[in-house]
């Protein structure tokens, strides 16, 4: 059964990064893998400090990736921020039947939209925002529906 395991300050401990790293496959490229490891360790520390909430996408057999979300604002507009999104190397760019023939990254972004709409309904929210790591990812996020914020590299979806 497909599920999103939620980690926040109440259930995350010092082993979180170890557990997550042991269940996900980093990039084959060693430099990229090292960057990913640093990001994941940092994100897990932020989870422990209540700075972000991490949702690990998995089923009985596999762990596909995760998304980390936090409350933010862009100028004065309340926003939900994608702190980090990670897809296991084995599942990158692949539409999975288990995810309704959707790519893991798309599935996680759509999940973030669902969370954003729930927050919007409860307390008000205007945008889902993220900062792509590179130009290639910016193109990927454009296809998903994100718009570029003028000269800034930040991207957003209006809710």
């Amino acid at each position: 059964m497909l599920e999103l395991k939620k980690y926040n300050a109440t259930n995350a401990n010092y082993r979180l990064a170890i557990d997550i790293l042991s269940n996900l496959k980093l990039s084959d490229n060693l430099d990229n893998a090292e960057r990913e490891k640093l990001f994941i360790e940092d994100i897990c520390k932020r989870v422990q400090k209540n700075g972000t909430v991490l949702y690990l996408l998995r089923d009985e057999d596999e762990t596909f990736g995760f998304i980390a979300l936090s409350v933010s604002s862009i100028d004065t507009f309340p926003s939900l921020q994608v702190d980090y999104i990670f897809v296991s190397e084995s599942y990158r760019g692949v539409c999975l039947e288990k995810l309704s023939d959707t790519k893991t990254s798309t599935y996680l972004i759509e999940f973030a939209i669902e969370i954003a709409k729930e927050i919007q309904d409860q307390v008000g929210l205007r945008y889902l925002v993220l900062l792509p790591d590179n130009d290639r990812l910016q193109s990927v996020y454009k296809v998903m529906g994100f718009q570029v914020l003028a000269k800034q590299e930040w991207m957003f979806i209006k809710l």
Binding site: L4, K6, S72, S100, I109, L131, L137, G145, K151, K158
Partner: protein, 48 residues
Amino acid sequence: MALIIQDKQVVYIAPPVKLTKDEKKVLENASVNHKLIKKATSRKYKIV
């Protein structure tokens, strides 16, 4: 993503706190992608 690496350290990047008039216009005049939101919110997500 809001993390970058500088000098082998992870650095957190916050969204801009002050936008230009043009940037604000881009934000405020953006259209809502109802099709995308409907697709995203019609799926059942099991959070555990």
